[in-house]
């Protein structure tokens, strides 16, 4: 961990470095604990080594309402194998120790409940502290909207205190008013959901994605990452044409079912895609 830089600063560096190369950043998602904790560490390492600029480490949760069948299956597998919240932080720590940049993607209740069995109190403040200590840069919360983050949960304050980025989502259905409020609460980068639906690879990138990015840019200078539905280099290249980051999740999880080599292959293809070097397939 770089001592003087916060997680928010270091996320800024990720996007600045990509921009300096005149390309979008590649962000890969895989859940911790799938197929095992050690296995997930290996896969995420592979994603970083094969060209991703940042990884999202998924925190397996029992009720992932915004996830499609591929991610659901992976997190169910991880939970059945007994993965714990501390394992997710452990994976982040080990990635960070070797220079990898990672944020956590988690539904809200595990953060809310974090460390509840522990003396000295837990909750969002403790989660933010432990994540920062592990070298994590931010937290994406698909079922927490800023409306509930500034109130009694104190999430925005906790994240700010630890220098980690609270990363919120905007969707094609978001009103301009909500986009303004959401971008104002977000640090690091904004997550734009490309389409109305759950996670999962799709044949075509929704046309609503570029419109949403353009609408969000009217409200913020934050980098904007686009997720949901990207599955190959060509799509990554397409999204890189209008976004600052290309987020790939389900397609990597599907590849993970076939092992590290498949994950490396897909990541290499996606990395070429965000560099405009994809040759089509």
């Amino acid at each position: 961990m770089t001592a003087s830089l916060t997680g928010v600063d270091r996320l800024g560096e990720v996007f600045a470095a990509a921009k300096a190369e005149d390309r979008a950043a590649l962000i890969g998602y895989l859940p911790a604990g799938y197929p095992t904790v050690k296995g997930s560490l290996g896969l995420l390492t592979q994603v970083l080594d094969a060209g991703a600029d940042l990884v999202e480490v998924g925190l397996p949760y029992s009720d992932p309402v915004l996830d499609g069948p591929v991610v659901q299956h992976a997190v169910e597998t991880a939970l059945r194998a007994g993965v714990r919240v501390r394992d997710t932080l452990g994976v982040v720590e080990q990635l960070a120790a070797r220079g990898g940049r990672a944020v956590v993607m988690t539904y809200w209740n595990p953060v809310l409940r974090y460390g509840s069995g522990r003396e000295g109190g837990g909750g969002p403040a403790a989660f933010a502290r432990d994540l920062a200590n592990a070298g994590g840069l931010g937290v994406i919360t698909p079922d927490l909207v800023p409306d509930e983050a500034s109130g009694p949960t104190g999430w925005l304050a906790a994240a700010d205190r630890e220098g980690i980025a609270p990363i919120f989502l905007v969707a094609p259905s978001s009103t301009d008013e909500r986009i303004a409020a959401t971008t104002a609460a977000t640090r690091g980068f904004l997550y734009a959901a490309s389409t109305m639906g759950v996670t999962g690879a799709r044949d075509a990138v929704s046309g609503t994605a570029s419109t949403l990015v353009a609408r969000a840019r009217a409200h913020t200078d934050l980098p904007i990452g686009v997720g949901l539905g990207v599955r190959n280099g060509a799509q990554a290249g397409e999204v890189a044409g209008f976004a600052d980051g290309v987020i790939v999740g389900s397609a990597l999880v599907s590849a993970a079912e076939h092992g590290r080599a498949a994950v490396a292959r897909l990541t290499t293809e996606l990395a070429a895609g965000v560099r405009g070097q994809h040759t089509g397939r």
Binding site: V65, E76, P110, S173, G197
Partner: protein, 437 residues
């Protein structure tokens, strides 16, 4: 007699503008659906002030659902309640056989107002699914109902009813394959279909405005009952009892009594094999605050915040959460919540069948069991005039298979294949077919 629309008139017990009941409620949900719930909230605010909407709701509740539902003086059952008088609010006599129709007719009318053509719903016991399929047929809406695979098996009759009514029933095979997983699937559908689809949430839970809106559609239960008891007995009941899963029937009957300080409000949660066994669904008794399915409330969860699997003989109470207003009432002490085991509920089920000629839903049997427990306490405290109003939220036709297995009244060979729902003894053997009915 008060009408259904009176429930929508506004009260002195409302959440804040963002739907918080104290620390509970609110909106813990994907941004993609915020616009949709904002639309529902705005449309509901307009509708509840629109005389045409209110008149249409009243007409349907009266001419179609059969409101008002009567209050029955359960004299023979009362003999088993330590002498307390037990009054039954007969929501089981509504069209479709439960209180669920109150909410569904309201939301279906709202769907039409919003210009949407498709409705989705989650269901546990199937009562909400049947009510939604019914309203969809009545109003010409496309209808898809998500139901845990486990529940499609134990409530097969209701699956058939929904299909007869033209609804598509989707068995949910993820997670614990019960009500909570049906909710997950309904949310996943909604996030992709929200442009033309309304999610008719079946209980007074979920994101704002559902807890408040669903409660309002059910307040008619308590409003009617309060008037009926006053008119017949010249006094209010000493206690109001209801079963609590998500808590819609309970909040409907409790709410109009909130300002009647002398009236105790007691919710009965499904304790399954007993709260101490861990195999139960008593979220308030055995849970802790957390966020699930759109709201902050009491929740059955482990120390990592993972939702725990639940158990109840009653599919409709087999849910790890509870509506946020109940969490608020529990903390404030205005209502109390107690566990009732499968065995206690089934004993009450048997007793109601035999003393009153009423086969209750197993959900409602939990409230009956609670009243039987409460009766002697109230009589000891208040004397022989003690009166308990019980919400008989549904009828038991759907539960005949389960009850027949529990009591062993039919040849098991003649029933569809299913593990017997009876309690498991220390050796792991299932005891069934030997109980006295």
């Amino acid at each position: 007699m008060t009408s259904a629309s009176s429930g929508l008139a506004g009260t002195t017990h409302e959440p804040d503008e963002a739907g918080h009941f104290g620390p509970y409620g609110g909106r813990y949900m994907p941004e993609a659906l915020i616009a949709a719930v904002d639309e529902v909230a705005a449309e509901y605010e307009k509708a509840r002030r629109d005389p045409e909407f209110l008149a249409e709701l009243d007409r349907l509740q009266r001419d179609y659902a059969g409101r008002p539902s009567p209050v029955t003086d359960a004299r023979r059952l009362s003999e088993h309640a330590g002498g307390a008088r037990i009054l039954l609010k007969r929501e089981d006599l509504n069209h479709t056989g439960s209180h669920k129709i109150n909410n569904v007719l309201g939301q279906a009318l709202l769907t039409r107002r919003m210009g949407k053509t498709r409705v989705i719903a989650e269901t546990g016991a199937g009562q909400h699914g049947v009510a939604t399929a019914t309203a969809a047929a009545l109003m010409g809406l496309e209808c898809v109902v998500y139901m845990g695979e486990v529940d499609t098996e134990r409530q097969a009759l209701n699956v058939a009813r929904m299909r007869l009514l033209g609804a598509e029933v989707v068995p949910v095979t993820t997670g614990s394959r019960t009500l909570k997983d049906a909710l997950n699937e309904a949310y996943r559908d909604w996030v992709a279909s929200v442009e033309h689809t309304h999610y008719i949430l079946g209980t007074a839970a979920g994101p704002h405005p559902f807890p408040r809106m669903v409660r309002d559609f059910h307040r008619v239960i308590g409003l009617e009952a309060r008037e009926q008891v006053l008119a017949a007995y010249g006094r209010l009941p000493d206690a109001v009892a209801a079963c609590v899963g998500g808590g819609s029937n309970a909040i409907g009957i409790f709410h109009p009594f909130l300002d009647d300080e002398g009236v105790r409000l007691v919710g009965f949660e499904a304790a399954g094999d007993g709260v101490e066994t861990g195999r139960h669904a008593a979220s308030i008794t055995g849970g802790s605050p957390g966020a699930l399915h759109g709201a902050m409330s009491y929740l059955l969860q482990d120390e990592d915040g993972q939702t725990l699997e639940t158990h109840s003989i009653s599919a409709g109470l087999d849910y790890p959460g509870v509506g946020p207003e109940h969490a608020f009432l529990a903390d404030s002490g205005r209502a109390t919540y107690e566990p009732v085991t499968d065995a206690e509920a089934m004993e009450a089920f048997r007793l109601l069948c035999r003393t009153e000629g009423i086969i209750p839903a197993i959900e409602s049997a939990h409230a009956i069991a609670g009243a039987l427990r409460l009766g002697p306490q109230l009589v000891a405290e208040l004397g022989p005039d003690a009166t308990i109003l019980v919400n008989l939220s549904g009828r038991g036709d759907k539960d005949v298979d389960t009850a027949a297995r529990w009591f062993g009244v039919v040849d098991p060979e003649s029933l569809p294949t299913e593990p017997p729902p009876g309690p498991v003894d220390a050796d792991g053997a299932v005891a069934s077919g030997e109980r006295e009915l």
